[in-house]
Amino acid sequence: MIATISANPTHATPPTKLGRKVRFRIKRCEGPGKPSTWNTYTVTIDQKGANVISCLQQIAANPVTVEGTRTTPVVWDSGCLEEVCGACTMVINGKVRQSCSALIDHLAPNEGDEISLEPMSKFPVIRDLSVDRQRMFHNLARLKAWVPIDGTYALGGGPKESPEAQETRYALSTCMTCGCCLEACPQFNLETDASKWDSSFVGAQAISQARLFNMHETGKELAPARLDALMGPGGVSDCGNSQNCVKVCPKHIPLTESIAAVGRAVTLHAITKFFRG
């Protein structure tokens, strides 16, 4: 199953041409609200398996543009460097993905090839390629995407779970809150005013997590509250069914199935509430 973890499982890696020079066109921004500019740097590929992060490290060591101007080092965010934390997500050649798993041999196999790097556009830029992804965690809280346990007493072994449900939930649990689904979503837009987050579209990431915790035997307890939040402004019905989310998800989470499953849950929840009060 190792092959499915790689970013481009269907693409054979081209042979590495060591010593080739690759150009990086990078969208720069000095801070929140500041205008953006573009800088281009050249990086010599001197190791096999070079990725966008390793090249950003080389640029940081010597931030001189192709015009010969010395700039401030490019700022980026990263963590695990194995595509499980989501921190290094950025827009590479116009499409959102993790930069740690973006291999230079795939993106720029030949001398002089260019790679463009931009910060995600749906989150406020902190500096250069680093963005503030706080809104995603806010949305998890908005939908109570957790299992309610107070930890003051032993809960015992817990309820039994079927292998089928476990398999579905495992796929959903691999979400790393990277933001790819939201970056590609035409219904999820940049909102710098945090007071509007609660009424803006919540997006596939949090909807899928609400489904995950609604399926959890103990997490079910909060399902009515989650569904109430999902019925409000910016809830699941604001989805426009472009289905971009599922195509850009690096973890291949069935996000559109989660949206449809939550759609069914809110339909039934609304009918129940109408007749029961």
């Binding site: 499409k95 809280a141 409000g232 019905s237 289905q243 971009n244 195509k247 759609g263 809110v266």
Partner: protein, 275 residues
């Protein structure tokens, strides 16, 4: 920070009513409307209609007469059609403003349909308004040639509205016909694609294979409706107005076509009532 669900008018209810009004009554009406209109083509298969002349025209006239026999027709129109369509249009227009199309970066087929769904909605509102205003409400100043649609002369006056008058296709008539062709094509797409997304919205299709299966069925319905839509627009844009009028006049008078007489425009064009 889950928001307490107290918003009014209820966000969820409005969203679901928007989805529902796209299917019932609007979508169901679209099917019956295209079935009726395309009778100018499929009516030619009906040998019973031949006794009045042009069987397609006679069949269409027969369908229109049936519609005009519906009791409380105006109330049915207002509450069954105009208000639901207006509701779906106004909310849809407002909802579509909340999205920002990104097909240039993410050129997936589903994403193209997302974008086309919104474009077809915008243009569809324009087309439906023109269609109802000119042919139902009688805003004849918007029709080249100023034709007043008449339910007793359903096919001929519709053809005149599409052709820019009763003397064959004019340049202005061609523009109206082209607008109809584009308008109905976009609306058929909008309905077929909307039927597919509605099944996701309501949680009827959940798994990807289920969504694909329903997608094939919606596409099939779309192709059938598109064929009817094109047969209608092309049928009326190319209809011989004079011959159609003779057929309608015979139906109105309750007279069958004389066995010996062929439809001869020169012979009977003076019989056209001045309109």
């Amino acid at each position: 920070m889950a928001t307490k669900h107290t918003d009014f008018p209820n966000h969820f209810l409005l969203r679901r009513l928007h989805s529902l009004t796209g299917v019932v009554p609007t979508g169901i009406f679209l099917i019956t409307h295209l079935l009726t209109n395309s009778s100018v083509a499929w009516g030619n298969l009906d040998s019973r209609a031949k006794e009045y002349g042009h069987p397609g025209v006679a069949t269409f006239q027969h369908e229109v007469n049936f519609i005009h026999s519906i009791p409380y027709l105006l109330i049915v129109e207002v509450f069954g059609l105009w208000l639901p369509i207006a509701f779906h249009s106004i909310l849809g227009f407002y909802y579509a403003l909340s999205g920002k199309s990104n097909v240039s970066a993410y050129a997936y087929q589903d994403n193209w349909r997302y974008t086309l769904q919104r474009i077809s909605g915008y243009l569809g509102i324009l087309f439906i308004f023109y269609h109802i205003a000119t042919l139902r409400w009688g805003w004849t100043f918007l029709i080249p040639g100023g034709t007043q649609w008449d339910h007793n002369y359903a096919a001929s006056t519709l053809a005149m509205a599409l052709q820019g008058g009763g003397d064959g296709m004019t340049a202005a008539g061609l523009a109206v016909s082209a607008f109809y062709f584009i308008g109905v094509s976009l609306l058929v797409f909008h309905f077929a694609n909307g039927l597919w997304t509605a099944a996701i919205t309501w949680g009827i299709t959940i798994s990807v294979p289920a969504q694909k299966r329903w997608g094939v069925m919606c596409a099939g319905l779309g192709v059938a409706l598109m064929a009817m839509a094109w047969a209608s627009v092309i049928g009326y844009a190319r209809l011989d107005v004079t011959a159609a009028r003779q057929t309608e006049q015979r139906m109105l008078d309750g007279k069958s076509k004389p066995a010996s007489s062929a439809d001869n425009p020169a012979q009977t064009s003076s019989a056209l009532p001045a309109r």
